[in-house]
Amino acid sequence: MDTITLLLLFFSLIVMIGAAVYAAIMKDLIFATIGTSLISLALSVIFYLLHAPDVALTEAAIGVALSTIVFIIAIRNTKRYEDEK
Amino acid sequence: MENVSNISKLFYTWIILFIVWLAFTSTLAIEEVITGLIVSLIVALLSFRFFTGTGLGIFAPKKIFYLTQYFFVFIGALIKANFHVAKIVLSPSLPINPGIVEFETKLKSDFAKMVLANSITLTPGTFTVDIVENRFYIHWLEVEATDEESVYKEIAEGFEKILLKIYE
């Protein structure tokens, strides 16, 4: 792997882990959902850098768009905050 | 304008979609072209009723000329806008004076309004917050005038003149 790929790879890995922590701890479920969206964003960059364009595409389609949308609609139909009664 | 026939709309949609397909495939191999024609025809049949209001009429030479003119005006404004933003962002004191202003447009079709709104969004210091009927609500980074007339002149006139020629 050349330097440029490595740089981007490490950056994306850090973003991904950060986003995962963020999604796991946020009390506002919308924030958590946006966090999962960010995970998928970073993840598809990583897949791209590991030369898996097919998977990057699928992750983009499922993770960034569909999964986020499904979560948002579910939150819309239930409650927005984690501790809300 | 109002009486655009379905045939014209269909052909217009078909042609545009076929061009999009060609750009996707970036090849002129015979089977790709045939597949593209079929696929774009199917999609065009599904969507021609709402895809366009103008039909083939938009390919008239006069309109093409105005489209080109609009394109250059737009690019010029876009570049100006970015240097404007750069100036603000990079200056230590953040010289801004934001506010939301309104004006009324003469454009009728939704599509033209969308083009105008997009153009306003991408030009210096302004972007569209909402359209209610014919009224545009614009967020302005450096409010220079608050009355409708001068707002209109400042923000929209340049684009709207050309758009009126294209879409009316």
């Binding site: 440029i4 740089l7 950060g18 964003l41 960034v64 | -």
Partner: protein, 85 residues
């Protein structure tokens, strides 16, 4: 040549860092979504750029589809904010 690419990549990554900071800082949902939108634009550009670095023409499909899906994802969140969906 290579150095030029690394510098470009570095600038783009710096942009990513700022967007991520805004994403974490918030304070409202809309701010985070703006950061996410900006990040996905950055990612689209990055993916095309990396495709050029890798010299594979077909990788460009990924960013094309990414642009479409990211747009729809952001649009859904925006519609959620205004009470649509």
């Amino acid at each position: 040549m290579n150095v030029f690419f690394i510098i470009i990549m570095g600038i783009i990554m710096l942009a990513g860092v700022f967007a991520v900071i805004r994403f974490v800082k918030g304070p409202t949902t809309a701010d985070r979504v703006v950061a996410l939108d900006n990040l996905s634009t950055i990612v689209v550009a990055t993916l095309i750029f990396m495709g050029f670095v890798f010299q594979r023409f077909i990788y460009i499909d990924v960013s094309l589809i990414y642009a479409v899906l990211g747009f729809i994802g952001v649009l859904t969140i925006a519609r959620y904010l205004e009470g649509g969906i």
